[in-house]
Symmetry: C2
Subunit: 339 residues, 2 copies
Amino acid sequence: MTASINDVARAAGVSASTVSRALRGRPGVSDEVRDQIKAVAAQLGYTASRSASSLASGRTFTIGVLVPYVGRWFFGTVLDAAEQVFSAAGYDVLLYNLGSPETRKRFFTRLPVRKRVDAVLTLLIPEEEESAALRSLGVPLATTVGGARPGFTVVGIDDRAGTENAVRHLVNLGHRRIGMISGSSGPLHWTTPIDRRNAYLDVLADAGIAHDPALEADGDYTVEGGERAMTELLAVSRPPTAVFAQSDEMAMGALRALRRHRLRVPEDVSVIGFDDHELADVVGLTTVAQPVADQGAEAARLLLRQLDELGAEPPGQVRMPIRLVLRETTAPPSPRGPQ
Amino acid sequence: MTASINDVARAAGVSASTVSRALRGRPGVSDEVRDQIKAVAAQLGYTASRSASSLASGRTFTIGVLVPYVGRWFFGTVLDAAEQVFSAAGYDVLLYNLGSPETRKRFFTRLPVRKRVDAVLTLLIPEEEESAALRSLGVPLATTVGGARPGFTVVGIDDRAGTENAVRHLVNLGHRRIGMISGSSGPLHWTTPIDRRNAYLDVLADAGIAHDPALEADGDYTVEGGERAMTELLAVSRPPTAVFAQSDEMAMGALRALRRHRLRVPEDVSVIGFDDHELADVVGLTTVAQPVADQGAEAARLLLRQLDELGAEPPGQVRMPIRLVLRETTAPPSPRGPQ
DNA sequence: CCTTGTTGCGCAAGCGTTTGCGTTCAGATT
DNA sequence: AATCTGAACGCAAACGCTTGCGCAACAAGG
């Protein structure tokens, strides 16, 4: 049996309430008594039971974090950074990996975080019904992906601007047949793929390039999907000379497909990604960099601030900077075209 | 205010105890009453408060997972798989990201999981003192890394065999100057780097190759570290013609260094990694594959089994299979050697 | 010397469950 | 008809904290 607050109280010759106040730095305890209690507690190896204290106080000092796939670089990185901020502030994080539709549904119907967390950070886009469920928790909410949603603090990037940078870069290099590997699939209504697609279309229009629907393929935001998509794009009658992939992982898949087809990058086909994945540099991928870890950390900080200032800070919206990172997968189109 | 058990009891015209028993499937409730209670609970959107129920029952239905760096592929993947198993069994996971020495120390001294989790899965190697702290929690313990440790169920691979496969592959190709990028650093006494190093030395000895200490460099298990290490190896008077990196991430760093030095892979230098990182295929890296996600899932399953069978199942030790994956970064040494 | 504050601490009532035990009551057993 | 037996359910006591309130004791102000 580990020590309870009463054991500490007895050993220190005071009441349990005094122990509670002393250990949590609340007023109403003289310094001498406080020090003595701390000493006794340390000596007994006492730590307050979280269950008991949250039951009594209503505060849990726990943050729920919802992630679609912990294993994917983007989410893992965001989570990592957010966790650091939370734990530095004394909060624990309860992780929910909601990749599959079943676990996701189960989560939102049973809502296991009810009365268990002080706030929720979600890295997946809740549908309308789901965000209503989250709001019903009555705790601060934040997200690092997708667009604005009532009740959520969102920290993100300017997807349109990022995409414009990328596509314009290809245009400036002289490309006219510019393909896109998107990630529109999934039941998640996520504004990112849409924003990026619109920006892509806009840049093409701006440059006076007619849009060819055959030059768009779905890559599902995975490496394999990117590979499949690139393969599709290579199969059309006049393949693209350059491809914009909505994520680095898909871009890498595209790279793999190109290698399989014995096509050189960037001589035959240029490829540009999005994210600046930690390994983008290894493969020399040109991409649009976004501060992934920073977004997680910032979202966490905003959440904590809402927790501190009880004066319900209205959920804000912050945009992080993006920048084009030129590496070795983009170049002017070859005069011969890919063959 | 969300509904409490008493609200449900009142609405259903029964006592709170009956509600508790009904909802948790315990005997002592007639089927009709049970169904009716379930209906009422669903209608009220009632979920039992975890804090209250764990305070009362002692069970938390929560697993603590300790990870050094969530953002790294290996750990993220293990965590992902483990979480799925846990959540499918109705357990939540409390995540602790213990990468930095400070957070790590804080965790082990304050032990915030005390009375908060039913079991612990650690993806970092606790030092003697730390594992004693974990054992003091009195809950089942498991790990997916490092060697045997009293009180821990460990799921892992045969590091020696994996390394032997890798190094022998290089030897068989005809290499004689075989470098190694290791990851011995860190305060974690981790048997993996040591096992792998020993196996490396053994294979060299077996092949009658004299060991050259200048051909070993520390890559810190990161991409950047691998790049640095490779750079060091290239600076010695007679650089290696092949390099075994103890992780794919370091191998990728090495690839980057080689590209910077305008050295071709595998023509000038062969590189082999370890792990079969999800992007190893993209860069064509030859490597030793280990079932990463499976290890996480298996460890989680073993933990759950210990939780179910109260008959204290003695902690076991399971070894998962490894296999050599030949891709494009290894080849026989060039007659000229790297220049 | 008697108020009026402070300060430091203990009392006890929760917080929302779980669970051992007691009670009730219908049906089975003598 | 009297007794026994379960099954089904309610009572109330934990579980280990937090916190509003009350009560000394003591300092300062009149």
